[in-house]
């Protein structure tokens, strides 16, 4: 008679093992077939001296698909360790490095995984067990800083981290390491289930917010990346629509693709040229797509992507990307497509502080959101990311908006992130919006449209298991109801 329910105690029972394996694979198949979903960029990773994005993400400006290195770091630095020493504390003990791509130092001093060489960062050679184990035992360096300076502090951190690195690397791969893609292939995905509770109204709703899978094929310096997912939104909903592939205009399910592009890396990956459907390079790439600073500028990663060509640079101290916007060809007719440019540039002033600027200009024959004819949108702003300490990070952005038929407006946010212990974050965010008085509609000035509107978010973000995040946001905005958002995020 077996005692306990743990898998280790089941050892020796082949039938049970087989059943367990079949169950796991069945669940995977069920999940993938019904609701395939993406991981997000966490701009506060700058506190670990990860100021740049390109080594952890396939997108040179961050977001979505993780590289092999990014997968390892997500397990070592993001998730809760439950008493075991983690990468986060170790990283903070060591001296920070001084460049966007400081992790490159890692490969120089410690050649094996998880610190995949930057040129191979976009390959699928992630956490193969054979490769990972030596890495865990030899380097165990989760951060660029720890590797860059094998000082006593870093060495101590490295020693501590040997304890659990193997398990981390076991679970960091695609589908928690169950599938190991070939070197030339990156695979990923994410599922987000959102619950919305409005206490004053007593209403509670829950729905799948995101269900995407994405992948990247690399052939030498050439990369082809794409995502596909499903979504169902209400009639008239602004979400998901402009990423649709299929043409249902009602509340049916639709296939969508938020990004699909072809890119080529130059200069050892420092420069990437891309063409296709991409996130707009603008501001801080936060995951909160309804934050005013992303929503009102239409630069979120939910469905604000556009077609065009982009040039990205990821240097030692400077990084940035400029994109020529050719319009979103998943929206029709052509009169609603915006054309123009979008860009950001960021300078690393110290190992854990970066400041940047953003600029966007678009024009369309008719604005698809306001329906203004001959619509121009100009948005220009600045942002900062800085870590005050090993646990406290500040993100802030302010943008001025100049839109057709509107007076000048502005939008901004500041988010303070306190990581209580590795994997558990408390965040407080303040935001302000005045999108400008609508001169065409006229009427009285309203908060948010002619007058400033203020909002506040309180967030608990818990990376409770490998590639699993549970998040609760309490959101209070002027002229809006108190709202509590609960979110389960599983990234494959």
């Amino acid at each position: 008679m077996l005692k306990g329910s743990g898998t280790r105690k089941l050892g020796g029972r082949d039938s049970l093992r087989a059943f367990q394996r079949v169950l796991a694979w069945s669940v995977v198949a069920l999940f993938v077939s019904f609701y395939p979903s993406r991981a997000h960029a966490y701009a506060w990773m700058i506190k670990h001296s990860y100021a740049g994005c390109a080594v952890c993400h396939a997108d040179p400006s961050g977001g979505e698909l993780l590289t092999a290195y990014g997968r390892a770091q997500s397990d070592l630095l993001l998730r809760m360790r439950y008493g075991k020493p983690g990468g986060s504390s170790a990283a903070s003990e060591s001296a920070p490095s001084s460049g966007f791509d400081s992790f490159d130092d890692d490969e120089e001093t410690k050649p094996s995984a998880p610190a995949a060489p930057k040129t191979d960062a976009n390959s699928g050679a992630d956490d193969d067990e054979d490769a990972a184990k030596p890495a865990a035992s030899e380097s165990s360096a989760p951060t660029p800083s720890a590797a860059a300076e094998p000082a006593p502090a870093a060495a101590a951190a490295s020693k501590e981290m040997k304890i659990d690195d193997s398990s981390s690397l076991d679970t960091s791969g695609f589908l928690w390491g169950l599938v190991t893609p070939p070197d030339w292939l990156l695979l990923g995905g994410a599922y987000r289930q959102l619950a919305v509770y409005k206490p004053n109204a007593g209403s509670f709703t829950t729905f799948p917010m995101m269900a995407d899978i994405y992948g990247q094929v690399s052939v030498g310096h050439l990369r082809v990346e794409g995502s596909i997912g499903v979504i169902r939104v209400g009639i008239g909903s602004p979400y998901g629509r402009s990423a649709q592939i299929t043409g249902n205009q009602g509340d049916q399910w639709n296939l969508l693709s938020r990004s699909h592009w072809v890119g080529y890396d130059f200069a050892d990956g420092q420069i990437t040229v891309r063409a296709g459907h991409m996130n707009l390079p603008f501001g801080i790439r936060i995951p909160e797509h309804t934050m005013w600073v992303r929503q009102s500028t239409r630069t979120d990663r939910e469905s604000a992507q556009q077609d065009g060509a982009a040039l990205a640079y990821n240097g030692e101290k400077i990084r940035g990307e400029v994109m020529a916007i050719a319009g979103n060809y998943q929206v029709r007719p052509d009169k609603y497509r915006e054309r123009g440019y979008s860009l950001y540039a960021e300078y690393l002033t110290s190992p854990r502080t970066a400041i940047g600027i953003s600029s966007l200009f678009t024009r369309a024959h008719e604005d698809r959101v306001t329906l203004d004819p001959l619509a121009h949108r100009q948005i220009h702003g600045a942002f900062i990311r800085t870590a005050f300490s090993d646990k406290v990070t500040l993100l802030a952005e302010a943008d001025a908006m100049f839109n057709t038929n509107h007076e000048a407006g502005y939008v901004g946010f500041a988010q303070l992130d306190y990581e209580i212990t590795q994997g558990l974050h408390l965040m407080g965010t303040g935001e302000v919006l005045d999108q400008g008085y609508d001169q065409l509609l006229g009427g009285v000035r309203k908060t948010g449209a002619g007058q400033p509107a203020f909002g506040g978010w309180g967030t608990i973000d818990w990376f409770c298991l490998p590639h699993v995040e549970v998040r609760v946001d309490t959101l209070s905005r002027q002229n809006d109801e108190l709202t509590v958002l609960g979110q389960l995020h599983v990234f494959l």
Binding site: G6, L30, S237, T246, V331, L371, L440
Partner: protein
């Protein structure tokens, strides 16, 4: 707490949470409002209309509280149409237009011409024009021809199962895969 009991604990917690979430019916904010408004307005003007976008009553297609345009504001003020009562849209829209007609010539309320361009809201809606943007700016704005998607067909016309299945699937995936990984590691350790 051993590794196994931790796994069981957190896996169970995840499953319970997933189950609780899965019990609820999926929904989107205001998803039912536009089709209800369509029916109400069709009954009012006596001809088929499109499903209105958020712009019918809001300043932008993002919708939201505090963003009502002048027509939306009049529906709220004189028709008493409030947030979160899609089931009452038909009655409240009728009440608005009835009130407008009853007050005609009294000067007590706008004469049913929200944007003040000389054409009544009812007439503009029947023509597919915006009752909130004065002529000629509002022409064809009530039913914009914007379409989404690369393909024109209705490929995904059949509704899939309840959304809770996806959530449950995600939770089970996390649990199953973690368990499998631990089992494989245990087997490797045994073989050494």
């Amino acid at each position: 707490m051993t590794h196994v009991s931790k796994l069981t604990f957190y896996g169970s917690a995840l499953l319970v949470g997933a189950g609780l979430l899965g019990l609820t019916t999926s929904a989107q904010a205001s998803a039912t409002y536009p089709p209800k408004l369509q029916l109400a307005l069709e009954a009012q003007v006596g001809k088929p209309l499109c499903v209105p976008q958020c712009l019918a009553c809001h300043q932008t297609n993002l919708g939201g509280i505090g963003t009502l345009n002048v027509f939306g504001q009049n529906l709220k003020t004189y028709g008493k149409l409030m947030i979160r009562e899609p089931d009452n849209v038909g009655a409240k829209v009728k009440a608005y237009f009835d009130a407008v007609k009853a007050a005609e010539g009294t000067g007590k309320m706008p004469n049913g011409d929200s944007d003040g361009d000389g054409m009544s809201d009812e007439m503009e809606i029947a023509n597919g024009d915006s009752p909130s943007v004065a002529f000629p700016g509002g022409v064809s704005l009530f039913c914009p021809d914007i379409k989404y998607g690369c393909a024109g067909g209705r490929i995904a016309a059949v509704r899939p199962p309840r959304d809770g299945i996806g959530l449950l699937g995600g939770a089970l995936t996390a649990l199953g895969l973690t368990a499998t990984r631990r089992w494989r590691r245990a087997r490797r350790n045994q073989s050494r």
